[in-house]
Amino acid sequence: MTTLIIYSTVTLLVIISFIKSPQKTKKAFKIGFNSFKKLLPTLIPMMIGIGIVLSLLSPDTISAILGEKSGLLGVIIGLGIGSVAFMPSFVAFPLGANLLTHGAGYPQIAAFISSLMAVGFMSLGLEIQYFGKKAALIRNLTALTASLVFVIVIWRVHL
């Protein structure tokens, strides 16, 4: 659905752009293609790496690990798995909701979900290529801090 929206929007913009200036549109294609070429050496290992990590860290494995663990250790494990794993929200949210109904704690699930969305260990290589080591690390550490703050708040409100 979202893919469809993106593709139709971009197609429409390309058509408008082409009517206004074929030359500029050609240049836009060249810029897009060039950056894809430059990203490829980072994208390929990232895709394979995610494939490997997810095959070892399947939703079943994550359930087994996160379902039992509670307390501070569970939170730390949740943050760890969330930072390293890479899965779309439409897989992660039902997984988290299912774990909650099977007795997992809210703080542990919050740690997993929040870090999964914001911390990107597997895409760190790409992020460094774009913004340099320092900025990429600071952003990820900020994201980890944000997840931790969320966990603390969830812990205090006793959901």
Partner: protein, 183 residues
């Protein structure tokens, strides 16, 4: 060894390394290996579905949006307006976080303020509107509300602090490396 080939190997060393690891897993643990192959393939398909339109979009942005416009709306002195635009851009986004990097890079190339671009990345990761709806139905209102408010607050603080943490040179280096990838 041929100079070109050596350059190519060096450039793709991580790709080769991960491919070798995947091969070893396939030999040593065939069941996990088969699963890893399937997941890798589906990652590539997702990436090839998401990235081309976004890269084309940044190409269009590059040729049509002049630097002056970006500086006016998201630049150093754009104030709350720049922050608001970062929030809107991030929440109307779709796609995995890595798809946000090229967008962030073109914003930087056009001299948007680093803090606002970092905040944009934070919003994209956590508060994309379609995902907020889905989170609400999965975990309930309070969980979602606390998730978004705490995370966005920390992202905002982090985004404003990042400019203090980086020296003028390393800040410029961020602008340069982001620009180099969108040319």
């Amino acid at each position: 060894m041929n100079q070109n080939l050596r350059g190519l190997i060096k450039k793709y060393k991580w790709a080769l390394l991960t491919a070798i690891i995947l091969t070893i897993i396939n030999i040593a643990m065939p069941t996990i290996g088969a699963n890893a192959n399937k997941l890798t393939l589906s990652n590539f398909l997702t990436m090839l579905g998401v990235l081309p339109p976004i890269l084309l979009l940044i190409g269009l942005l590059d040729v049509w949006v002049p630097k002056e416009i970006m500086i006016k709306y998201m630049g150093e002195h754009s104030g709350i307006k720049g922050l608001g635009i970062a929030l809107i851009l991030g929440s109307f986004a779709a796609g995995p976080l890595y798809a946000a990097f090229p967008v962030a890079a073109i914003l930087l190339k056009k001299r948007a303020r680093l803090s606002y671009v970092m905040f944009f990345l934070g919003v994209w990761s956590t508060a994309k509107l379609p995902m907020v709806m889905f989170e609400y139905t999965s975990f309930g209102g309070l969980f979602t509300f606390l998730h978004i408010t705490t995370n966005l607050t920390v992202f905002l603080i982090g985004a404003l602090l990042i400019e203090k943490m980086l020296t003028a040179e390393s800040k410029e280096a961020v602008y340069q490396s982001a620009s180099a990838l969108s040319e």
